[in-house]
Symmetry: C2
């Protein structure tokens, strides 16, 4: 990278939806403009005002269907009048839209067109029932393939992956891993006030996670608890240069440094070559770690895109923490738990923090910022001195767009 790039001043709104006691699906809930304002203003307050911002980026997947609203970048000047007439753009790559927003902001810093970029991810999905929402989200895959697909399109796609995994390595073996992934997520979410499952009181998480799927009610190889939440929310962060840090008056210690990133694109018109592998994720993680010049053993924590529990298992394999087919055991044995060998998704991930799709990639970076800078509150994990790195993996579609980022704690 031709310049140093830092992330600072992260903010997450509550992930609103089923599970949150303040959520009532029958009432009108806050609109997408509310979420952009809440998250944007919170980050602006932390960086001493919008006057310090040179550019903005919005990550959003599907407001054009969920909210009958496109052109989201034009809401940026509504956040603060000091953003009027400054550059702004919306980026989209399905559920990787948030990660793309951060990377797009990074490029503006590297390009020298900005020293401070406001990056916001946002999605408001509870405007329709979950089944219709699934149909909107299905637009992340190739339209010509969808007609013959499942009614719940993406749950169906990942159910197919789970089915292949069960077939190759055993249903019960896999289910233990999925159940543990689910339990870890809920336990982590209980430590984070903005998480959608923060108030989850279930004392029998493993038992819940172990329940056999019923294909006649949903999909063949996954339960509802194996799926990420239907969420409304926004996350914001400031992406800044060294000059930008000075301008906003924040010490590097409050920030994290981006040391590697990858934007990795696969062909949407083709089915995955091997359903047992997140092959694009694997390439992307390697690209980002290579750029950072680090090994996976130097990571203190990872935020990965567990849109479904099976994607969590497969991610441990894509990273190489577990060999192919061993991810279920790796997770079941507690290695991805918050006190395990490599804590994943320490505030609940997509399964339990929530998955406001276009916001997720930004939320992941905010979580890594909080953990590496010691601001994760109750959810804080120890960051060992020899593991000063954290990583995010944000995925769009069925492993088609992947944005991976490696961050380093600042001293």
């Amino acid at each position: 990278m031709q310049k140093r790039v830092f992330m600072v001043a992260g903010y997450n709104t509550v992930s609103l939806g089923s599970g949150r006691s303040e959520f009532n699906p029958k009432k009108e809930n806050p609109g997408i403009e509310h979420y952009m304002m809440e998250a944007g203003r919170a980050t602006l307050n932390m960086i001493n005002g919008a006057k310090n911002v040179d550019e903005s980026v919005v990550g959003n997947f599907m407001a054009s269907r969920f909210n009958n609203q496109a052109h989201l970048a034009a809401f940026i000047p509504s956040i603060d009048k000091d953003l009027l007439y400054k550059p702004s753009v919306r980026v989209e790559g399905a559920c990787a839209s948030g990660g793309l927003a951060v990377v797009t902001a990074v490029k503006s810093i590297l390009a020298g067109t900005a020293d401070v970029v406001l990056a916001i991810g946002v999605e408001v999905q509870n405007t329709v029932k979950a089944m219709y929402g699934a149909d909107h989200l299905a637009l992340a895959d190739y339209h010509k393939k969808r007609q013959a697909g499942h009614a719940y399109f993406f749950p169906g796609k990942f159910s197919d992956r789970a089915g292949a995994y069960a077939n190759a390595y055993g249903e019960e073996y896999m289910r233990k891993g999925l159940a543990q992934w689910y339990a870890n997520c809920i336990e982590n979410a209980r430590l984070c006030e903005t998480a959608q499952e923060y108030e989850n009181k279930n004392e029998h998480l493993i038992e819940t996670g172990l329940m056999p799927p019923d294909g006649s009610r949903f999909v063949d190889h996954l339960n509802f608890t194996d799926c990420s939440k239907v969420s409304d929310g926004a996350s914001a962060i400031a992406v800044v240069s060294e000059e930008g840090l000075k301008r906003i008056g924040i010490s590097a210690r409050e920030a994290i440094e981006l040391v590697g990133f990858a934007q990795t694109e696969d062909n949407i018109m083709e089915e995955p070559g091997d359903p047992l592998e997140l092959s694009t994720t694997k390439v992307s993680v390697q690209q980002a770690m290579q750029m950072a010049g680090i090994k996976k053993e130097q990571l203190a924590t990872v935020e990965t895109h567990d849109c479904f529990t099976i994607a969590g298992l497969l991610a441990t394999e894509a990273f190489g923490f577990a060999d192919k087919g061993k991810g279920a055991a790796f997770v079941a044995n507690g290695h991805t738990s918050r006190d395990g060998q490599i804590p994943f998704n320490t505030t609940g991930g997509l399964i339990a923090w929530g998955h406001p799709t276009g916001a997720t990639g930004v939320h992941q970076v905010v979580t890594i910022l909080e953990q590496l800078s010691g601001k994760a509150g109750q959810a804080q994990i120890p960051i060992p001195d020899d593991k000063p790195y954290g990583m995010t993996v944000n995925m769009g579609g069925n492993d088609k767009t992947v944005v991976s980022m490696v961050f380093k704690k600042c001293d």
Copy 2:
């Protein structure tokens, strides 16, 4: 700019829709993936293959409604297998999506993450009848304002502007300017084989343009001929560094250099302060010209966003070619014609070349590339030695997002 940036290898598909003899609205027409492939492959052929490409950007406004398809960046690897696993992103800013695609590509060059970026703009809109299409395009404005708006939302918005202009300066005075703008567009389109109005045989263009609008059939102050076309199409271009030019083996003479650009954002939640002015466009044009260090008198040609003829008139005022209220006379007097003081939209603009919304911003750059490099064929205008510059203005929504770019002919 911390690096020199060039545009080269531009390509436009036909702008397909009413007016083209090969268009049949009752048959199935080529899909969005077809257009991306045609334009993308044509540009790749001109730059000696996809192996030379580091990154790609897609500009698209509304495939999620017109084509039931999001996640367009994941079609990039379908264009050529050498694009697999390389960075790709879709950007959106309503009808300014194409301009944003080019600017996003420019930032990757400046950022040093790429030396060659493939930028594609695409939109396929004839999948629905024009009236439903107008409803999709209305998502470019604030959803809470739309319910009380016109049935044809954006024609209504610009009809309101035309009404204000007529009220301030005279209906007949304005109508003469609009009619001349329309006539210029058709005449220019007849010189460009890909233009939607290429085959237009009307011998009474001015008379057609002078017809009084009938608000009971459409909107109060505009005719259908004052509106841009409903178009399917794609445009592609390579955005490259000096290093990139060497890699693709093309001389700078075949390229144009970007010497100034602006991405200018206004607040979508507010109505225009003065309907008689494209105030965001005015700011944007100034920003871009200031960055380029040029005056408007040095421009040989301009491609402006004439989504409606009234937007063309107002653009001449936003540029300062005409004083406020004098744009209609400036146009009626032939100053924007191809042999006039400052030729605008030399291949027909949005009115007559066509307006495949997300492609338009890229199409504009391709047109400037063709004119400044002497490759505009029948549509070629003279480029005087003391006017080596051309400019594009791409607008999203009702003057909310504006992307302006200044290009210089290479010697």
